[in-house]
């Protein structure tokens, strides 16, 4: 039953002292879906994502990733997920190739695989010439694309992206989404948090979190119908205002 679902959560909760960051959230993400995870700052989306990645232990509730329990089968879970955080996550003092080799290496790829992956990745990003350069010398947009490509280098079944396009110009953002679509076409499930409402439109389905709870979850089109809104921005504002 849960096999076709990439992520299943049931009443997943995280409390920090008296503060409830995520309050009994329940949702499913299908395999190969691009799932947008929206919410204002402090709404609990990063906490939820960190629990799913194994960076935080939930206070209560259940969750499975690719069919594996996040409490008991952490090793299995870790092998099947990729993660790209808000903070830029490559080593600036390593070259492009060294970064690729390192991350592929810690996921246990063989030397032969690493070689092939590196060539393929550099070709796809049109960075063959920059392979030997230090990452610190690359423009931000390139770094982010590289970062994403490295996050999926071990062919995970799910990749978690935590506000991956912060501070990038619209054109680079568009290119970044091309990479996401391409990965989704290969069957990779994309779980992405974002601030940008135009990006929300790119997702297959989105959930909107307010104060630790999921207030809405559907396709962008249906959400707009439901809230009688022109854009995702309106939907979001309606939900966010409702609380205050």
């Amino acid at each position: 039953m849960s096999k076709q679902y990439a992520i299943v959560t049931k009443a997943l909760t995280k409390r920090f002292g008296h503060f409830t960051a995520t309050d009994a959230i329940t949702f499913e993400v299908e395999q190969g879906e691009i799932f947008g995870f929206l919410g204002a700052n402090g709404a609990g989306k990063t906490t939820a994502m960190r629990m799913l990645c194994g960076l935080l232990t939930p206070t209560s509730g259940e969750a499975t990733i690719a069919g594996y329990d996040i409490y008991k089968q952490t090793e299995q879970v870790k092998k099947r997920i990729g993660y790209m955080s808000q903070k830029f996550s490559l080593y600036e003092d390593l070259t492009v190739k060294e970064n690729i080799r390192f991350y592929a290496g810690i996921y246990g790829l063989s030397n032969q695989q690493i070689k092939e992956k590196t060539a393929e990745l550099l070709r796809k990003l049109q960075m063959e010439k920059e392979g030997g350069q230090l990452v610190s010398s690359l423009p931000l947009g390139w770094k982010q694309k590289l970062s994403f490509s490295i996050a999926v280098i071990h062919d995970p079944s799910i990749v978690f992206l935590d506000e991956p396009t912060g501070g990038v110009d619209p054109i680079t953002r568009r290119q970044f989404w091309d990479l996401i679509y391409e990965a989704a076409d290969r069957g990779v499930t994309i779980f992405v948090t974002t601030h940008y409402m135009d990006e929300a439109e790119y997702c297959n389905r989105i959930s909107i979190m307010v104060d630790g709870k999921i207030k809405a979850l559907d396709t962008p089109r249906k959400l707009k119908e439901q809230f009688n809104a022109d854009s995702m921005n309106d939907v979001f504002l309606q939900l966010a205002r409702a609380k205050s």
Binding site: M84, F88, E98, Y103, G105
Partner: protein
């Protein structure tokens, strides 16, 4: 295992590409050894003295030449009256004035009593005490040779032998001290900085999400530093032996094993610091204030522990540096073996385990 090697290789890239790190790792030991070995020394060498010789006889001039012949003193000037003593000190060069009274030789031989006055610049009390001690010793020796054996019927003669460091070389204390300081610096400060750096950059999260076990991540980060601190220990020992003829009387193998042990103690402290803070700045401050300062001040490296207030002496026990210096001195200077240093070794091992256990506890509580 392969993942581990990949990780260690990445660590070496970090180390060798950062000029600042390299400078601390290899420049610092050399600078400190040279500084402590040559420049900062508490030995007296050619202290400038002034002589007010009121006697001007053969006996007095021989005394003065005995003082200068020792190498500890150099006569900067001769004064002609008592009034010149004060200005001589004021000028600052003169550390000691020897006042020889009139008829010095005559009194010595006939009255069997010849007072001699030593006036010191005690604005630096340590130097002043040392100078008078040296001068006294020379004068006493001179007196004995002049046949002026004290008229006391019974005398207690103390024969002093400076065991383990007969020439009283300060560097024999500084080499173990610098070694301790550097190992602390490299192992504790550098590891705490390198781990907090990953946290600051956000790469730590990526690593924690990856299949690498947290223990492997930490091990991968510290193993290069264990290797480096070992190499640095060898470097310091080689410099100590080559430049200052610092001996290693005990077993070299034991000495190196102890260095590794202390390296591990310092590493565990570094790891502990990195579990407390997320910022490199804070990690550096904690290492500096919490580790380096006590290592310098409270380990017996610069200031003798015996002369400290009891409270400080008690506190000094909790700093690993103190025990390591005891071990180093015992092995290097006294030729001590494991039966002499088992206690401090045990204490250091215990501390290491304690710090590691504490780090693991901190680490786990952070995750939940």
């Amino acid at each position: 295992m392969r993942q581990f090697l990949v990780f260690v290789r990445k660590e070496f890239y970090h180390i060798f590409r950062d000029k600042r790190t390299l400078l601390i790792l290899f420049g610092m030991p050399v600078v400190l050894i040279v500084l402590f070995g040559f420049a900062i020394t508490n030995e007296i060498h050619k202290a400038q003295i002034a002589v007010l010789d009121n006697a001007r006889d053969a006996f007095s001039s021989r005394l003065v030449s005995r003082l200068t012949a020792s190498g500890y003193f150099e006569v900067n000037r001769y004064l002609s009256s008592r009034a010149e003593v004060e200005p001589a000190f004021r000028e600052g060069d003169i550390k000691l004035v020897v006042v020889i009274p009139e008829k010095f030789g005559h009194n010595f031989h006939h009255a069997k009593k010849a007072p001699l006055q030593l006036i010191t610049d005690s604005s630096d009390p340590n130097t002043a005490t040392t100078l008078t001690n040296y001068a006294n010793a020379i004068v006493m020796q001179y007196q004995e040779e002049m046949g002026g054996k004290m008229e006391l019927p019974l005398t207690i003669q103390t024969a002093v032998r400076m065991e383990y460091n007969p020439s009283l070389k300060g560097v024999f204390l500084f080499v173990p001290g610098v070694m301790t300081l550097i190992l602390m610096l490299v192992s504790a400060m550098m590891t705490s900085i390198t781990i907090t750096r990953e946290k600051e950059l956000g790469t730590m999260e990526i690593l924690l999400v990856s299949p690498l076990r947290p223990l492997l991540i930490i091990a991968g980060k510290v193993v290069p530093y264990i290797g480096l601190s070992f190499i640095i220990s060898l470097l310091i020992l080689a410099m100590g032996a080559g430049v200052f003829a610092m001996p290693v009387k005990g077993s070299l193998v034991l000495l190196l094993l102890e260095c590794i042990l202390f390296g591990l103690t310092a590493l565990s402290l570094g790891i502990l610091i990195s579990t407390i803070t997320n910022s490199q700045q804070t990690a550096m401050m904690i290492s500096m204030m919490g580790l380096l300062l006590p290592t310098i001040l409270l380990s017996g490296f610069v200031f003798p522990l015996e002369s400290m207030p009891v409270a400080l002496q008690v506190i000094s026990n909790i700093f690993p540096a103190k025990w390591f210096i005891i071990i180093l001195k015992s092995i290097m200077l006294k030729g001590g073996g494991l039966q002499q240093v088992w206690l401090p070794t045990l204490i250091l091992s215990g501390m290491t385990l304690f710090f590691l256990a504490l780090s693991i506890r901190n680490f786990k509580s952070r995750l939940s």
